[in-house]
């Protein structure tokens, strides 16, 4: 039987506010445990939440970025359950009236095809703290669980998609598109390793052609693009095998274990909590007027789609290049700076996608951590364009910049003596030497069929470039060699 995969994603995006969603405590990552939790975050008796306006504005910006309806009135609800890292015994979220209504996101797949994914809604909520189970014990050596509430109250935007994705690739493309939008908007740092973006994946399978959805499993807390792909792949295979062996999929929550590359059952629907949602009486509804929404809309930066279009139409880049370069804000910003410095979109695109991307990939670095800055790369390209150095020497300069051997391309060119020799007198002298030292090759050249001579000239070019330590202008070398060799015919 042919099976179809159906995937829906719930993406939790940590908003880049300075303080928490309901308190004034800092949201900075990596502080000592429980040093960034104030009385409100600790759920101290009598404390009350006050909503962070920055979080509201960021949620609205996201909604505008995906052409969603913005709710003029949205309401916080309490989701009640007990857990050690949930200080109040409830999470403040938006169950019934979320701030962002239905929206749309067009994503580009690896093969260049476009796919439209509908967004069901997005809502604001607070994060919980963290339970630390490792390496804690009491005086008598009993194992203990520690609780770090630094993260408690960090603002999250939960973006819930419709079940519109049909493959792991589509799911990761969607996740990348969400990542691009939130980082373009600057409403999240999008750092998945630090948990700034986490995702729950709903997966089901159904016979191809069937309308009704199969029973879904929800895979919790998948925190990288790769894991999403792996988790879906595993889960799809598990469900198909189960059904084909005569079993049925049960609705349950599963956990993806990246070490074993498998999903495991956490709890079934029957074991699920009754969260007893009800409107939080400590918070008033968020009421937004049209003027507020319009102001935010006017202030939106250029988003990935628009940028991709501009790269194609105005800069003349290919659809593929435009897509790659616009795929993240860091990439796009980097590319645009390179381009402005060297004033050549195509060369900038080639370098960013070629030499730079290869080096980043080799060392597993994000572009934001590139040792070569956009300005350095732009200046380097400029030196190729103005014939100061050859393309080959440029790669040497790039490597030297990467290794931190100099502050600028010019400094390295100077230090390594890579400046291209364009003085034809000097080049002619080198050519004369090479010809004088290669009588055998000259004879072969002279005796060869005319149409073979073009290839044979390569040997002489190589020798001249070697003699110049790569600094001779190759076009000049080529032309002068041809003249001098042909003179011997």
């Amino acid at each position: 039987m042919q099976w179809e995969t159906v995937i829906g994603l719930e993406v939790h995006v940590q908003l880049a506010t300075r303080s928490k969603i309901f308190s004034g405590a800092s949201t900075a990552f990596g502080a000592d445990a429980n040093t960034q939790a104030c009385a409100v975050d600790l759920g101290m008796p009598g404390t009350l939440p006050v909503v962070n306006e920055q979080a509201v504005s960021m949620a609205v910006q996201f909604g505008l970025g995906v052409n969603a309806e913005i709710a003029k009135t949205s309401v916080f609800d309490r989701k009640n359950y007990f857990y050690a890292d949930l200080p109040k015994g409830y999470q403040t979220s938006q169950m019934y009236h979320p701030i962002v209504g239905p929206g749309l996101l067009d994503v580009t797949l690896d093969d260049g095809a476009a796919k439209r994914i509908r967004i069901h809604h997005a809502h604001l909520e607070e994060d919980a703290g963290k339970s630390l189970h490792e390496s804690l014990s009491d005086d008598s050596g009993r194992e203990m669980t520690g609780v770090d509430l630094n993260r408690a109250g960090t603002p999250l935007l939960e973006i819930v998609s419709e079940p519109d994705m049909r493959s792991a690739k589509e799911a990761t493309a969607y996740l990348r598109a969400i990542h691009a939008i939130v980082t373009y908007l600057g409403i999240s740092d999008g750092n998945m390793a630090e948990g700034s973006m986490r995702c729950d994946v709903n997966v089901s399978v159904r016979p191809k052609g069937q309308d009704a959805f199969g029973t879904r499993a929800e895979i919790k807390n998948v925190n990288s693009f790769r894991f999403v792909e792996r988790a879906v792949a595993f889960e799809v295979e598990r469900q198909i095998e189960l059904i084909e062996d005569g079993g049925t999929v049960v609705q349950e929550t599963r956990l993806y274990d990246p070490d074993r590359d498998e999903t495991r059952s956490m709890r079934t629907k029957e074991e699920a909590n009754d969260y007893r949602y009800f409107p939080c009486p400590d918070l008033l509804p968020i009421v937004l007027d049209q003027a507020y929404i319009d102001t935010l809309r006017d202030g939106l930066p250029e988003l990935p789609d628009a940028k991709r279009g501009r790269f194609e139409s105005q800069l003349g880049l290919s659809a593929y290049d435009a897509g790659v370069l616009a795929s993240s804000r860091e990439m796009a910003d980097y590319f645009e700076e390179v381009m402005h410095v060297c004033d050549d979109a195509k060369q900038a695109a080639n370098w960013v996608q070629g030499e730079l991307s290869a080096a980043l990939k080799r060392e597993h670095l994000e572009i934001s951590a590139s040792p070569v800055s956009a300005r350095q790369l732009g200046e380097l390209i400029g030196r190729v364009k103005d014939d100061t150095i050859s393309g080959k020497a440029a790669k040497q300069v790039f490597q030297a910049l990467w290794d931190g051997q100099g502050e600028s391309a010019d400094e390295i060119i100077e230090a390594k003596g890579l400046k291209q020799v364009t003085d034809s007198g000097a080049i002619e002298a080198m050519i004369d030497d090479v010809i004088a030292q290669s009588p055998k090759q000259v004879t072969q050249y002279v005796e060869a069929e005319p149409d073979k001579r073009g290839k044979m000239i390569g040997y002489f070019v190589g020798q001249v470039m070697k003699a110049s330590r790569g600094t001779a202008n190759p076009q000049q070398v080529n032309q002068l060699l041809k003249e001098k060799l042909d003179a011997q015919l």
Binding site: P45, G46, L48, F82, D282, L283
Partner: protein, 486 residues
């Protein structure tokens, strides 16, 4: 001492006739003598109070004193008070030293008043008799076999016995007004949002409101000036100007339109309470007010709606008491679930557990719409009843409680206890202000007249109550117990 009011003490301090140190010491002595009998305080903070009194005297001497500088009072034990044990009347918080102060406490500190301690109360403010406190029941100074009402029973009893001239209470379904009525004092429940809830240990967030309990409406006006106002830390606090409550006390009542809700004079109302209330209404007529009957047709649903909404909110509000970060924790828990179950089973009393169970049930999947959603609809209707009534009249009047104070241990059935609040609960559901003033005695136990106003009409309520107290002397009556403490 027992005859002093906030107003008379403020005058004495201002004129230099008394020092805060003297007053504070005298009241502390009275507390020491009365407490073994009354049990109206959970904590007495004598040392801090005397230090505060000295600072107040110094401030007065340097000309920096405000109206309340140096005036002693007490705080119900659900106001978080930095560095002071704040128990909410519960074993759960018997070990809880608040790390911060409620906004109301900060405001009173800024106004210069001196807190003598934290008053006893029904556990987590759930009750109408102050018998559910982990620290034991409180006695009514008018009759030691009677309850003082609740949940702010400690504040009411302490003021009635002259242990403090005034105290702060909170009112979720009548918890300021009913004990004020039972103890023969004046108690104001302000409009929801008028006084910040920040730092008040929540019972039912959409209903809780703090207010003053004192001898007179005039005292309440001065205290309201100190505690009312917008607080950026409480999203539900009202961002509107605070009027000059004391300045409007003497406005004449000629032309005042009083409504008597028929529903507040029905079955179950003690005849002596009714006659006291009707006599009080006659006083207003004599002062130039007009009186007419009105109807609040949804009144009979108020108690039911309240006992859905308040426990629902409470069940969630009290989830934070889990033995993890503060409060009672059971010994050697086996695991997290055991920690929760035993800490909460040991830390909470029966009435609190009962309301957590009710609230958890009404919020449960499958029951939410039938209970919570419906109760919220009833709540809107009750609010509309009041809005409609205030189109016709300026204030409403009726009894605060259907009976005078009942005997300790008399209300064994939770339901009959809940029905004690039938005249006070609708006010909280509607968010309007109401004041209870002494209006008579029935077999030696005080009777309270409740005056209900429209939203943010505290100044009017205080004016109406003050004019009544100018014309009557019920508020000047003192229980024998107060006179016996020397």
């Amino acid at each position: 001492m027992s005859d002093h009011t906030v107003t008379s003490l403020a005058a004495a301090l201002k004129n230099g006739d008394a020092s805060s140190r003297e007053l504070t010491s005298d009241y502390l002595k009275r507390i020491e003598r009365a407490e073994p009998t009354l049990n109206s305080f959970i904590s007495v903070t004598a040392e801090q109070a005397l230090a505060g009194a000295d600072a107040a005297d110094k401030a007065r001497a340097e000309g920096r004193g405000g109206y309340l500088t140096g005036v002693p009072l007490a705080l119900k034990d659900n106001f978080c008070t930095q560095g002071v044990k704040t128990t909410c009347g519960s074993k759960m918080l018997d070990n809880f030293i608040a790390p911060y102060s409620a906004t109301l406490v900060e405001k009173l500190d800024a106004a210069g008043s001196i807190s003598l301690g934290k008053t006893n109360m029904d556990e987590f403010a759930m009750g109408s008799s102050s018998e559910s406190s982990f620290y034991g029941a409180i006695k009514n100074p008018w009759d030691l076999s009677a309850v003082p009402g609740g949940s702010s029973g400690g504040s009411a009893a302490a003021v009635a016995a002259g242990l403090v001239p005034a105290a702060m209470g909170t009112d979720t379904g009548g918890s300021i007004r009913q004990p004020a009525a039972f103890c023969g004092i004046t108690g104001l429940k302000p409009t929801y949002g008028r006084v910040s809830r920040y730092g008040i240990i929540a019972y039912a967030s959409s209903l809780d409101q703090a207010g003053p309990m004192a001898r007179t409406a005039e005292d309440c006006a001065h205290l309201m000036t100190a505690i009312a106002g917008h607080d950026a830390r409480d999203s539900t606090s009202a961002d509107r100007a605070v009027p000059d409550y004391a300045g409007e006390l003497d406005a004449p009542l000629a032309g005042l339109k009083i409504g008597l809700p028929q529903e507040y004079f029905g079955d179950g109302l003690d005849p002596e309470v009714e006659s006291a209330v009707r006599d009080a209404v006659k006083v207003f007529e004599a002062l130039g007010a007009t009186v007419r009957d009105v109807s609040l047709p949804h009144t009979r649903y108020a108690t039911s709606a309240y006992y859905v909404i308040a426990p629902a909110e409470a069940s969630s509000n009290l989830s934070r008491f889990d033995g993890v970060r503060f409060g009672h924790r059971c010994d050697t828990p086996d695991d997290l679930l055991d920690l929760y179950q035993r800490s909460r089973a040991e830390g909470f009393g029966d009435e609190v557990k009962r309301r957590i169970l009710i609230g958890t049930h009404t919020l449960s999947e499958g029951f939410f719409d039938a209970y919570y959603t419906k109760a919220q609809r009833v709540r809107r209707l009750i609010r509309q009843d009041f809005l409609d009534a205030y189109n016709e009249v300026d204030v409403l009047m009726g009894p605060t409680s259907p009976t005078p104070a009942f005997n300790l241990g008399a209300q064994k059935d939770p339901l009959s206890m809940y029905l004690q609040d039938i005249y006070t609960i609708a006010v909280n559901l509607a968010g309007i202000p109401a004041i209870s003033v002494p209006a008579g005695l029935s077999n030696g136990r005080p009777v309270g007249l409740q005056i209900l106003g429209s939203h943010f009409a505290e100044a009017q309520l205080l004016n109406v109550a003050h004019r009544f107290q100018q014309a009557t002397d019920w508020h000047q009556q003192r229980p024998a117990f107060a006179k016996e403490i020397v």
